[in-house]
Subunit: 471 residues, 4 copies
């Protein structure tokens, strides 16, 4: 089976994020942590180079060493996590290779290995998500700029409200996505090494290093080795173990769910706006995209549909992770921790899938100006009602309230606004060209351009910083 | 990779429910639906026997036909569901086998196939869950009966409260599990065929059967063929399509989540009661169960831990399914439906994993009577305080309130209850043997035996009916 | 403050369900339970009639007795629930009235009182919900029947798919609502008395009745008194206490959430279908409904909007209740129980608010046939593509696949279907009137009428049974 | 009814956070926004001072002006939000006072007012939460320091694992709470003014200011007035409206849920550690705290119980808010926005209630050193098994694996570790005092002190910065 395939998850099946969170990737991350620690121990002189070398070799080619993630997975229920059978297997391999196991798992606990491995997967997964968000940010910036002056109808509570521009709508999507991505960057930076030993005290490590006794066998301290491990794994240093303090897990989870929500909002709008009766937008038509099993004429908005399905799924995972954090009892938890693992992978896949589909969606999204104009025209002059009341209310007998009543009634009866106004104002009272000006949607766009620029600037700043961060 | 393995899901990795919900099982169910329909069409004379036969042959051996679930999975994003690439592949195979495709997917829509396949997987999955629940019900019935008279301390808000019996506690678990299972049986029976065609009208089917026109080509009606299909698939008949009315999905989901909650409550109690300081229970020690990666002396309560992790995870999936049901817009949904699929499989796996682990747990659960007695003795006479107030309150100067104060103070100061009472009552006022009787926990068990019997009877009735239902 | 008002909850503020779940209603239910039990005890001769009478009097007029729900609420944090301060207050009143307190709370625990009170509120709340659902079922039955032949476009994944009828769409809503209501009726019937005493054994009650000792002071058994209490409160009898077995709570919660989901699906469709560009439906315009603070021309679909907000909120409460059920540890829980109370009231209010707004919505919902027809015409002949392929595919050179390609291309290029077909078939090959027939949406409605009838029958059966049940 | 009382919410009923989120507080915040804007308009010369003054006067004394939050609440269903009836009422008052309404709601939309009011409530609510967290941080710092050397048993998967110290356990709680609070500070700072007008363009404002036309009637720009409004309300400036981009709402919600999770973890530990059989901790005994309705001897851990109930409830609200954010369609949403309001208040109350109860809990939490020592002694030498294997494994015939087997067997059979070791090592091979040293828990505490210091430093830095921030 291809790593990362899942027949009921077209959102992410077969994508980069799926591979990065598949069992093989988790196994690899687990082994990378063991290998990195073996190397640190060997360098400090408390484990043999040969043992460390063999652990490293296994971590590079677990398949060649005969490790199979499915076998480990099925054995994991014995101890409640996959690290325990993994260690047994690695020890078996080391023994077969006549290598010592003194560089393996020394002073560590399975939670150290698994949490750190998950952090590695989360960090690499976040980079994949951020990579696709950069594509989205670039695409939406372009769309916002291109359509900054395309006047369209703004909809509130589903009804036509005022004029706005297509560019401002897209700048809103851009704004949400960029802000969520910046939070993801912060949360990603908050991910750190987990290294506490069996009960979060590093007692075994200190003991090995001989610090609990007068004559230490090495000059390196437990703190120094911990820092070296973080460096080797390219992770933020750890000030203290967090076996049962899961705030950094909540931070990255919330950020991932925030990304999905931002994309979900945009996808929901695209789904509305490409309904045939509205027709202002069209999803890109790639080969094989949007087909139906029964109706040859259909082009389904598959990308938005998949993103929306992500937005329906992510909050449940986020809630579970908060329950798990509160259930992280004692010095290491009895169920709360175990419940986290699949939800973290799921959130990564939902965010990654949504970002990848979003990138394809926004890079190819078509705006159909004719439909935009037609919908704007449908409500016509009524879209300027707010302005009419503001400008003419006090010139109306009975004041603004009376004018509001006139406008509300014209909406109910379907009387064109101009006709309704002409029953109130003679042309002497309200000249035709003044009325034309008042009813010109292009003259009632407020700070649309400023707000678009604000989003574009924020996006540009994100893209610039984000690029720098990666390098 | 072994079907149904998952390195971060030791709860269910490698189990029967995992296999029953794996991609291969879903693919098989999809093909079984197509094959059943092909057979119905052929029998009705509206498709060729040869085509139906070939579809059936592919459904029996998809691998032999070159179908790969991972390839289909990765192609599913094109149309947003796996049925579309599946049909393309099956058509390719039929063509290669020189067979007509007139028995394939005629008049159906992908949602018909996928919903019905999910119903099949749900029904078979529910049977697996119910099978393990029957084991649990039998084991807990035995435990409840065996320990019906083992007096222990009842705990409320974590504190010692009154005497009860170990049997009653277990009868409570039994009660919860049995009631949840009965709801699952009802929900399972409510699962039915989905057959509506592209928009839920069966227009294509009626059209094929020629009913929309004067001279029909067959005597079978669309309703009859629909009923035959349900029969062939051994599903409840369908009164109308439910593409966007997902109540039966909510019913089965709620029932599965209810099972997990019932098991989660029992597991939470086991986790508490096997804490070393309490020590009233001990999980069974199978080979490879409960080991630690660092501490050789430890026996971890892995089964309860895994069940608790299920209880932390199921509610999020249930919530997602309710959101999806409300988002099932139009005649077929744009994201709501797609979000359901993985959550349904997840709920099945959580319930199935929890039930399997629960069966192992309760079939081997040990009660340690010495610890039970010791904990009962720890609070000692104070456990009878409620009774003392009820019996002696009105004989106390100052009445029940005064006596309550005495008892509360004795609890705070740690004064033994008897000493405290002796400051209130002389032996003349309260004879030693009366006091002994009053303070005998065995004489303050209320309707414990009746309540145990009520649970045992309910369980027995469930086991009997459930057995009959299966046959 | 008006009972049941809430400035941020327009969904239900000021409605019957809000009053039925307000603090005063809960207080009243708590007192009704105490009074009923006092009455049972007095009748059995184990409490004084005078005391029972006073408790009853307080329960009828708590305000007159000086009880204030806000004072009790603020005092409830002391013991963690409101029953404890309530008892203190009632005792104070009894003392002031020179009445004995021997009919108050004898042998009960606060959870008995609160759970039973919540059951009463849930049952009465469910009746309110069901009452409004009956209005909805009647209204939707009428709409389905009225519009059973109004042909409209069916939409799948937001795109035009096939012809269907407005009546079938509404029959779908009807079906969902009725099925959810039937589940609510079942769950309501499963609600029962909670009566277990401090640890679920009824030890205190048995003790009072003298059954633990040779010479009982009464001939009534604890079981009989428990049954009498259930009768007096008009509740289902209890086979055993369920302090920590919360399946019946899960059943009613799931049913309430199911009702909200069914209404949420319908409201989502109404929100789509009344978009100005689609315009097939219009919410009723009551006085004060749908106004905007800024735009006089707007008529906002407020009823559907409020129902949708309920559908977004209910799943979270349902999930919390499942977590709470699993956290119902020991013999009485340390947080799981406490978390249930507000969520149960919230679910009642969400379901009640949604049902009330739904009744107003569907009793006044307008169908705009002209827009219906116009949208159907927009996609035109393409809606019959599925039929064209089925009927003409095998008459096409290259077969169905070739014809599908023609149709898909015509959709992309916007070529009318007839023109496209004419490039494939001469009029000799395909007569004009045959084509007209093939492209007539009225002749491609399949089993629409049967399916409508199925829903109407189910609704009728619900309305009949439901009416009988209430009487 | 007392503002902020709720009979089923003892967690927060009657507290400061309850008052700060009650209907009256929301009404006041709504009016403060209107008044602030009226003031800005008047100062800019585009509204009359008299009108602004009257709006301000109403905002200061809404009761005096005859505004009743319950009446407004019940009227809010008309337009779907409370601002619409509020404006009608305020206009009525202004008219009665012969004041113009030109300073009321000019150019604003109801979402501007309500979102900004919620931001004000959230900010003030966050300050209340942070105030109590500062108390908690101080109390936990003290406890961590006081008990930094109190050796206790560390528990993993509920079982005894290694030695640790009470101080380190508490430093863990401290760490979680402080980190969550720092996130809350960041999210609080990210809350900003909402000011977009009917469709998020500020068109009405720009129009009023005459900027859309050559000759402006004022020199102030819309941007400047927006900034002034933010200043007057003491809010962060707004770069663009966020009617449908709800990231800042997600940020504050996630932070509040994070606070609850951190407190929930600590409360869960307290609940375990004060079980009678464990007894290492005791909740403070305030007057009226912890009583039972039936059992006078009981002291219930009410504070932890209430905090745990918060931890069970918050994730559901957080999930709802993420669904709402994704459902924030169009230019202003049709249900997504409306669903947010009560959940935001609920999250504030849960966090505020948990923090307040937590402050009382941790300021009075007692450590019982005797029970701590007794539990440590219960597992005795076995707690040093990890060390024994590390130190003696290679001196054992058969190596570490053989020694592990010995230790595991001694755990199963209950053989004291020393006896078991003596079967492996003679006193010549392993001197008595060496063994004593190896088995001394005080000599196997690793970096406990460093990790405590890390938490104390982080807490100190939070307390210092946080104090500064407030001033």
């Amino acid at each position: 089976m291809t790593a990362g395939s899942s027949i009921l998850n077209p959102l992410w099946s077969g994508t980069e994020i799926a591979r990065a969170t598949a069992d093989g990737a988790v196994l690899s991350a687990l082994l990378r942590v063991e290998a990195a620690w073996g190397g640190v121990l060997a360098e400090a002189g408390v484990a043999s180079e040969a043992s460390a070398e063999q652990v490293r070799s296994i971590s590079i080619d677990p398949h060649g060493a005969g490790l199979r993630s499915d076998v480990l997975a099925d054995a994991a229920s014995g101890g409640g996590n996959p690290v325990i059978p993994l260690l047994a297997e690695v020890r078996r391999v080391l023994a077969a290779r006549k290598a010592d196991d003194d560089a393996l798992h020394r002073s560590a606990t399975s939670q150290d290995i698994l949490d750190t491995a998950l952090v590695i997967v989360l960090r690499e997964g976040a980079d994949i998500v951020l990579g696709d968000i950069r594509r989205i940010a670039a695409a939406l910036s372009q769309l916002s700029a291109d359509h900054r002056a395309t006047v369209c109808v703004a909809r509130t509570l589903t009804q036509h409200a005022l004029p706005t521009t297509v560019g401002l709508r897209m700048a809103g999507w851009l704004d949400g996505v960029v802000r969520s991505a910046e939070r993801l960057e912060v949360a990603r930076a908050g991910l750190r090494l987990q290294w506490g030993g069996a009960a979060g005290t590093q007692a075994a490590l200190v003991d090995i290093l001989g610090q609990a006794e007068p004559s230490g066998s090495t000059t390196a301290s437990a703190g120094e080795l911990t820092e070296q491990l973080a460096q080797v794994l390219n992770l933020a240093p750890m000030t203290r173990p967090w076996h049962t303090q899961r705030q950094s897990i909540l931070e990255i989870s919330s950020a991932l769910a925030g990304v999905v929500a931002a994309l979900g909002k945009a996808a929901a709008d695209v789904l509305t706006l490409q309904r045939p009766e509205i027709g202002e937008l069209r999803e890109p038509r790639g080969p094989g995209r949007g087909g139906s099993s029964a109706m040859p004429q259909k082009r389904n908005p598959v990308l938005s549909t998949l993103i929306r399905s992500a937005a329906l799924s992510a909050p449940g995972s986020l809630a579970t992770l908060h329950h798990s954090a509160a259930a992280a009892v004692d010095e290491r938890p009895d169920g709360g921790w175990q419940a986290e693992w699949p939800q973290l992978m799921e959130l990564l896949r939902l965010a990654g899938g949504a970002a990848l589909r979003g990138a394809e969606l926004f890079e190819g999204l078509e705006v159909l100006p004719q439909a935009v104009a037609q919908n704007l025209a449908q409500s016509g002059d009524a879209l300027l009602s707010e302005r009419i009341v503001s400008r003419l209310g006090h010139r109306t007998p009975g004041g603004p309230a009376a004018l509001k009543t006139v406008l509300a009634e014209s909406a109910v009866t379907g009387t064109p606004l101009r006709s309704a106004l002409r029953k109130v104002f003679t042309t002497a009272e309200l000249a035709a060209d003044e009325l034309d000006q008042l009813l010109d949607p292009e003259l009632y766009l407020g700070r649309t351009q400023e707000f678009i620029d604000a989003s574009l600037n924020a996006a540009n700043s994100f893209l610039t910083n984000s690029e720098r961060m990666i390098r």
